[in-house]
């Protein structure tokens, strides 16, 4: 899709914002990747959340849906020049992964529920979603178009 120099990788529990010609990518298991894109400002980002709600004193807001999403939206507006009314959301991930992850087994589903709830509250429309399953997701956002290339392990690439 693009040469690797233009692609930035988002780590787990982190967020990145960029604009064309750059791309953003991440890998998702039980985590949810929220892609927000403003087609007018042509700016977009990926937030990679691990858990639905923040507990304790952890300062890393982007690990959690309830603290990460409002922060991510504000950053897109403040630093990216995006408009909230123009923003579109696409969500990916939320798979049921290794059994060894203990009580994290069903966290993917809870993550997705919380993300959908917050996006609804924020008035941001989800225009595409591919979630669930038992395999990981490899997603790549093209900030020139807002399209997301999604490859689930063992399946062909789909564009959203």
């Amino acid at each position: 899709m693009n040469d690797t120099h233009n692609i930035f990788t988002v780590g787990v529990g982190d967020a990145k914002i960029t604009r064309a010609p750059h791309h953003l990518k991440t890998l998702l298991g039980s985590c949810i990747g929220i892609v927000l894109y403003d087609p007018i400002a042509k700016v977009g980002g990926i937030l990679h959340i691990m858990l639905p709600k923040k507990t304790g004193n952890d300062s890393k807001l982007t690990k959690y849906a309830d603290t990460g999403l409002p922060f991510f939206i504000a950053q897109l507006i403040k630093n990216g020049g995006a408009s909230k009314s123009a923003m579109q959301a696409k969500i990916f991930g939320g798979a049921k992964m290794f059994e060894t992850a203990g009580n994290l087994i069903n966290i993917g589903e809870k993550n997705e529920q919380e993300v959908r709830k917050i996006l609804k509250e924020e008035g941001i429309k989800i225009v595409a979603a591919k979630t669930g399953g038992t395999k990981g997701y490899n997603i790549l956002l093209d900030t020139a178009t807002g399209s997301v290339e999604c490859r689930i392990f063992g399946e062909p690439i789909s564009i959203y």
């Binding site: 990788t9 988002v10 780590g11 787990v12 529990g13 982190d14 990518k25 991440t26 890998l27 998702l28 298991g29 039980s30 985590c31 691990m50 858990l51 952890d58 890393k60 690990k63 992964m97 290794f98 059994e99 060894t100 992850a101 203990g102 994290l104 395999k135 990981g136 490899n138 392990f153 063992g154």
Partner: protein, 201 residues
């Protein structure tokens, strides 16, 4: 959490002994040289470590073993998908190329190799350093490398932004297979073990 240089050196000695043990056992099982070399022991930032591994989108087989006991720890042995079929042939003493795809046999062999690595790593720690380590049955999962790595570190990443990672270089002789072997000790229990050994904080 900060680990003193003295403690890191002590940990390096412990891990070298454990990994040498595992290396010898695996070579014997596969009847070919399996060379595991300790690459580095370091405190890694959770975001940076996962970001780095998320760049690795190769399809791999991951074998994760959880250890219970007075030293909580996780081990991840990860090898390219095609490498797991080659190791199956070595393990079953059949010509390389006999196993064409990942199937139940390949999964069983992957679990067995995980068992061998886990038991020899834990044996060293138990006999030489008085740790109590009880390996649980290995879990095998095929996925992108970055996803498997995230599964390893996820629980610790929720509790803490820092990870103590033990990285190795893992090569199987007569093949192009280059594998990952990560050990992820649980920080609180590791600290207690090092306290008991009398190393300076």
């Amino acid at each position: 959490m900060v680990i003193s240089p003295e403690r890191l050196r002590m940990l390096e000695v412990i891990m070298k002994l454990s990994i040498d043990n595992a290396s010898r056992a695996l070579s014997k099982t596969l009847r070919t040289g399996a060379k595991i070399t300790l690459s580095k022991i370091y405190m890694a930032d959770f975001n940076e470590a996962t970001e780095k591994m998320n760049n690795d989108t190769r399809e791999m087989t991951g074998i994760i073993v959880n250890f219970k006991g007075n030293l909580g720890c996780k081990m991840l042995f990860m090898l390219p998908l095609e490498g797991s079929t080659i190791l199956t042939d070595y393990y079953l003493r059949q010509p390389v190329g006999t196993t064409k795809e990942f199937d139940d046999d390949t999964k069983s062999v992957a679990q067995e190799l995980g068992n061998i690595l886990a038991s020899h790593i834990s044996n060293s720690l138990v006999s030489d350093f008085n740790a109590k380590l009880l390996p649980e049955p290995p879990q095998v999962h095929n996925d992108f490398a970055g996803i498997i790595f995230s599964s390893l570190v996820m629980e610790q990443g929720i509790l803490c932004d820092q990870l103590l990672l033990i990285e190795t270089i893992f090569e199987i002789c007569r093949t192009e297979i280059s594998c990952y072997l990560f050990l992820l000790p649980e920080l609180a229990s590791l600290e207690k073990l090092l306290d008991a050994m009398g190393t300076r904080k």
